[in-house]
Symmetry: C2
Subunit: 208 residues, 2 copies
């Protein structure tokens, strides 16, 4: 009944097995949705036996929890990468654009996987396991906002850090899931929304 891992991989090949299982999970969900996400299907796709899967994951939900954690970590890493790659004289607009691009990558590669993780994250009790990533992501955004404190309205940085990622996510998903996907518009619209949000001045209670 626990969601925690069952056994740690000590040797190299064990680590490779765990990685193959997680990658296979992402692929199965990405192509057949949560409805096709069965432990047998994952094992087959990963090219390992079902027994191996259950040596490292205590249950199907445990596997899902690990997958969520992996995706969260990747998301934070790609945002961090995008920020650190920013030129020192970058404009607010180009900074926002870079962040939007980073966010687009994951969600557009695999909208089925992204929405599945959204759902399972709500269902499973994993507050403690993703809290850290949320905090890291928040810190990255607040750090960036400080750099452009002059250009932005009176937003509370912590609020912005909570609001912006899901905002971008929602807009990007909507445009990217059209057929055919409208990636350019997705980027443009998300950027517009973020910049509009950041620059807005409320009706006067803002210390100019």
């Amino acid at each position: 009944m626990t969601l925690n891992p069952r056994k740690r991989p000590f040797q190299g090949r064990a680590h490779a097995t765990v990685e193959a299982i997680l990658e296979a999970s992402a692929q199965v969900i990405g192509s057949h949705g949560l409805a096709g996400f069965t432990t047998n299907a994952v094992a087959e796709r990963a090219g390992v036996s079902i027994g191996s899967l259950y040596q490292y994951f205590a249950s199907k939900d445990g596997l899902m929890a690990a997958l969520i954690e992996r995706q969260q970590a990747r998301q934070v890493a790609s945002v961090a990468m995008a920020i650190s790659a920013l030129a020192s004289d970058a404009s607010l607009e180009s900074a926002v654009r870079a962040l939007v691009r980073a966010a687009m990558q994951h969600h557009h590669d695999d909208p089925l996987l992204a929405s599945a993780i959204d759902h399972e994250e709500l269902r499973l009790p994993m507050d403690d396991r993703i809290g850290g990533y949320l905090e890291q992501g928040g810190a990255l955004v607040t750090g960036l906002l400080d750099r452009f404190a002059g250009e932005i309205g009176c937003v509370d940085p912590d609020d912005a850090a909570r609001t912006l990622p899901p905002l971008v996510r929602g807009v990007v998903d909507a445009w990217a899931n059209l057929s055919p996907p409208q990636l350019d518009l997705a980027e443009a619209e998300a950027t517009r929304a973020v910049l509009g949000y950041l620059r807005m001045r409320e009706q006067g209670n803002c210390a100019s």
Copy 2:
């Protein structure tokens, strides 16, 4: 293999049965997620036999498709209601606020259900069944934007109609799913984002 309904309810009680099944589906998903969404569980919760369920829905996926359609229709209806309830001299801000509130209702009542529908909508081939609602919702938003054409920047109304609903959705979900939920901030942040998006003027290619 078809997603279409199997038999139409002619008598009143049959219609009640169909409604009970759909409502039970929403409740089951809302409390146990897609993982708990089984046809037997739905029938039991609806207080009907499993046989009755399969008289009106050809398959589990067919039931899901009908549920998605129902939810979409409700969403459009509540937005239409919010718009028509607007005072004729309402400000853009109060109009946006009303729309945000309408959007908040569904997603906050049942975030698990909302995210499940998001996922299944991607997995199932139902472009033809939800296209109409998308169009209706778009028409409502463009109509509203025309009323405030002076106050807003140079947004394409069709783009805005596609961008705004998921934008609001993302922001509201993020704030409403905290524990404890921050409904006031959800409304404030979503409103801010929408107003910022609408009022923004691009860097000059806007026919003032």
